[in-house]
Symmetry: C2
Subunit: 114 residues, 2 copies
DNA sequence: ATTTCGTTAAACCAAATGGTTGAATGAAAA
DNA sequence: TTTTCATTCAACCATTTGGTTTAACGAAAT
């Protein structure tokens, strides 16, 4: 059994994903690792506020923080996303659908709006 | 283009999924349609409070309400779950993973804890 | 040794959230 | 036609949330 099971918390993860700014942080980290001040260029809020969002994502293990000199390197942890993925997949009857409906539902060619 | 695209709102859906009671409502509806008072037997909160949660899920189109006499039949709308599924799948690099890792991440044989 | 840079901590605030109780509505049963 | 049953509405409340500003801290650069 994976150790992640015992650490990754459904409650914290779903709560973390509820905020638009926090989802945007994950989107940006998907493109590559970053830092607080670097990320802050993409947000209209203070870096202190952004720091709080990052801490929430960190507590949910959706991102990891690695100290490098005076910087903190922020990286997306895709494993934690898998927890909510699993929950949703189960209740949306993901695996019981036809391949057509599947690829229609999850179309990774289509760009995300908003 | 599907009409659902224009109706289903990522913000509302993720916000709706953030609450444990609301996720539990969806879990119960996954087992079968129900009504407010019927569902309420499974919750320690008032039926009025539960009614508010149901309204939030309804606004996010995660469930539908159908009037049948004096009852309101509540049904899970799996299509809306697909929206968050889609978002998460994209950023977790779902499709780029090996089949082994995939089936490990989404294991629908394993029962959901909590 | 000082200053600058990136980050974290603390105090504070308005608005949103999740709960309560009591009253109102509308269909079904008596 | 009352009464009961399922649901909704409204007022209220405590806590949480997401933001602000000011201050502190530790590593890097001057």
């Amino acid at each position: 059994m994976s150790n992640a099971e015992s650490i990754l918390n459904e409650d914290k993860i779903f709560a973390a994903l509820a905020d638009k700014n926090r989802r945007k942080i994950l989107e940006l980290l998907h493109a590559g690792d970053s830092t607080l001040l670097e990320l802050n260029k993409s947000f209209p809020i203070s870096f202190q506020a952004l720091g709080k969002h990052i801490k929430i994502l960190e507590n949910a293990h959706l991102l990891t923080k690695e100290t490098q000199g005076k910087y903190r390197k922020l990286s997306l942890n895709r494993e934690a996303l898998g927890v909510s993925m699993k929950w949703i997949a189960y209740f949306s009857d993901f695996w019981n659908q036809s391949f057509d409906k599947l690829s229609q539902q999850i179309d990774h060619n289509e760009k995300h709006d908003q």
